[in-house]
Subunit: 354 residues, 2 copies
C-alpha cells in the first residue's frame, strides 16, 4: 500500500482528534453531507464547543485526513482519513447469527445447478445485503485439479468433451474431428487422460503429457492433443479473466456518483473488466481481506469508490476473490463482516461436496 499523502510522518493523533475524526467519518458515511464543527460538537460526545472542535478540525486537515470541498462547507474525509478510520478507529461488530444463517441458506448447493450458479448467487447476496455492487471472480483454475474427463460421441466427427474440475465446476465443448472414433476408442482415450491427470492440475502435467503422447501409437492423438490443449486454455482463463457482478445499478443511488459521465466511466470499466481484475488480483495474492479506498486503487476511474474484498478457497487453496464495490462512504462496519463471512461460506459450499 503506497504512502499516499505527502504529509507529516504520522503526527500521532491525540485521543480527542481520533474521536472527532471517527464521528466525522461515521456521520459523513451516514448522510453524505460535509459535516461542520457545530454538528460534531453536538454528536461527538466530547464536551466541547464548536470553536474548539474547529481547532481539532484544522489539525486533521493539516494532517491530510479531512478536507473542505470549499471554504464554508463542512469537512469530508479524504482517502487517508478513511484509511485511518478503517484501520484503527472502526469497531466491526460480527454478524448476527441470523444473518449468517441467511447467507449460508442461499449458498447451499441444494438447488444450484452448478458452481457458476453458486458464484452468481454469492454475488447477488453481497449486493443484496449491502445495497452495493457485488463481485465474485470465477475460481482460478491453474491449480485446480482435474477430476475427470469424458467423451460423448454426438455424431460422426463431433465429440462432446467434458471436463470435471474440483469444486463443482464443469466445462464442456464440442470438438470437430477429421475422422470417426468408435465408442471404444473414446472410452480408451477418456480413461487414459483421466488417469493421467488423476486429480492434478493441468499446469503440472501438461508438458509431460504432451511429450508422452507424441511418442504414442498415433491414431488417438488428434483427439487427445486437442483435448489437452483445450483443458489448458480453460485453466488459463478464469480468475484472471472473469467475474460475476451483481447490483451495479445500486451505484446510481449515491449522489456523489450520480453524474452520468462518472457512472458511464465506472460501468465501462466494469465491462472492460481489466482494471477491476487487476485490483482483485492483489487481493488474491495477499490471501487476506483487502480494502482499497478511493485513489489507493491506483486506477483513476476508481477514485470515487472503495472496494472491500476477501479471497475464497476451495479445499484450502485460494482460488478467487469476492467483494463489494461502492462509494467511498460505505458502511465499512457492516460491509466488512459480510464480505468476510460470505467468502468463508462460499468456500465451504464449494468444497463441501465430494
Amino acid at each position: 500500500m503506497p504512502d499516499n499523502l505527502p504529509h507529516k510522518p504520522d503526527p500521532e493523533l491525540s485521543e480527542r482528534a481520533r474521536t472527532v475524526l471517527r464521528t466525522l467519518v461515521e456521520r459523513y458515511i451516514r448522510d453524505g453531507e460535509p459535516v461542520g464543527s457545530r454538528t460534531l460538537a453536538r454528536t461527538s460526545g466530547l464536551e466541547l464547543s464548536p470553536a474548539s472542535i474547529r481547532n481539532v478540525l484544522a489539525d486533521l486537515e493539516e494532517a491530510g485526513l479531512i478536507a473542505a470541498p470549499h471554504t464554508s462547507a463542512g469537512r469530508v474525509p479524504t482517502a487517508s482519513g478513511y484509511r485511518l478510520f478503517v484501520d484503527s478507529l472502526l469497531k466491526v461488530e460480527p454478524l448476527g447469527q441470523q444473518e449468517v444463517a441467511r447467507i449460508s441458506e442461499h449458498l447451499r448447493l441444494g438447488e444450484a445447478e452448478s458452481g457458476e450458479a453458486l458464484l452468481a448467487s454469492a454475488s447477488a447476496m453481497l449486493s443484496g445485503i449491502t445495497r452495493l455492487v457485488g463481485v465474485v471472480t470465477l475460481p482460478r483454475r491453474e491449480h485446480v485439479e482435474i477430476e475427470q474427463i469424458e467423451f460423448v460421441p454426438l455424431s460422426a466427427r463431433r465429440v462432446l468433451v467434458i471436463l470435471v474440475l474440483a469444486g463443482q465446476q464443469i466445462q464442456n465443448r464440442i470438438l470437430r474431428l477429421d475422422r470417426d472414433f468408435s465408442p471404444a476408442e473414446l472410452q480408451q482415450a477418456a480413461n487414459y487422460l483421466s488417469s493421467a491427470f488423476a486429480g492434478q492440475s493441468v499446469m503440472k502435467v501438461r508438458a509431460q503429457l504432451l511429450q508422452e503422447m507424441r511418442q504414442m501409437h498415433g491414431h488417438l492423438n488428434a483427439l487427445m492433443t486437442a483435448t489437452v490443449e483445450w483443458a489448458d486454455q480453460v485453466s488459463q482463463r478464469s480468475a484472471q479473466e472473469d467475474y460475476v457482478l451483481a447490483g451495479e445499478l445500486n451505484l446510481m443511488d449515491f449522489k456523489e456518483l450520480s453524474a452520468v459521465d462518472k457512472l458511464r466511466a465506472l460501468f465501462d470499466t466494469f465491462t472492460r473488466k481489466r482494471d477491476i481484475l487487476h485490483l482483485l488480483d492483489q487481493a488474491i495474492d495477499a490471501e487476506e481481506m483487502q480494502i482499497f479506498i478511493g485513489e489507493e486503487s491506483g486506477h483513476s476511474v476508481l477514485d470515487e469508490v472503495s472496494v472491500v474484498s476477501a479471497p475464497y478457497s476451495i479445499d484450502d487453496r485460494v482460488v478467487g476473490v469476492l467483494g463489494v464495490i461502492g462509494p467511498r462512504r460505505m458502511a465499512y462496519d457492516r460491509v466488512i463482516p459480510v464480505v468476510d463471512v460470505t467468502a468463508r461460506l462460499l468456500g465451504a459450499a464449494l468444497d463441501h461436496q465430494r
Copy 2:
C-alpha cells in the same frame, strides 16, 4: 398494433405533408433537437418559405404526428409520427456486401464454444454495429428436439447428466442420488432415455414417458424420473425466461435518456427482464420483424425507447427473437436491415451443423 391516438381517421396526408414529415423525422433522428419551419424550408427540397411550412406543420400537429415540446420550440415526431415514417416514408437500403460479410464472419461457429456463446456474440454484434443495445433471447426449447442424453458417474451418488439439444445447445447438471449406480446401469438408462426421446421435444413425450416408467422395474426409476423432470424444466425455461443483452451503456450517450432516474428505470427493467420478454414474445408469435415505438409497447418504462426485433429460427422453426433497443430517434433505415440480416445469419449458424 393499437390505433394509438384519438384523432382524425387518417386524413390522407398530402404529398407535401409527407415530405415535410419525412425530412423532419430524418433531421430529428440526426441531431435530436426540435426542428423548426426555418430549417425545414431549407432542407426539405420543397421550394417553400418558412411561413408555408408552418401551415403544413400545423396540419401535422393536428393529425397527432408531431408535437411541440413548448410554444416556441420546433417540432418533434410523436410515436405515431415515427410509426407513419417507418411504415411508409422510410426507404430502407439493404446492407452492403461488406457488412453482411462482417456479420456472418463473427457468427461462424468456428471458435464459438457453444450455442450460448454464439448468441452472446450476436448480441454484441447488434450493439456494436448500431451503437444501441443488442438483445437476443435464448432459444425457446419447448419444441427443440432432444438429441441425446448421457450420464457420467462422478463419485458415489453423484452423477452428471448431459442433455444435448438441437442447435448446439448443451445442458448439464449434477444429480445427487440416494444410492449407487453402476456404469452399466447408467449406460442402460441413457440408452433407454435417448431412444425414448429420439429426436423429439420433451413436451411431446414427457407425459407418456413418465407413465411408462411408472410401470417399470423400479430401480432405475429415481434416476430417470429426475432426469426427465429436469429436462422438462430446462425446456420450459429460456425464451420465456432469459436473454443476452449487450451494450446497455450505449443508452447513456443519448441526451433524451441521460437523466439518471430514467436510466435507472430502464436498466432496472432490463435486469428484471419480465417486461422486455413480454414484448419480445409478441415478436416471436408474429414470426416476423416487429417494431415497437415508444408508447406502443404498452410498458410505460419503455415510453422513450423503440425496439426493433426479428425472430430467428433453428431448422425452420422460430425459436427466439433478437433485436435492438434504443431511443425512439434511432436510425431505423440502418437498424432494420441489420437486425433482419443478423436474425437470418444467426439462424443459419445455429442449424448449419449436424
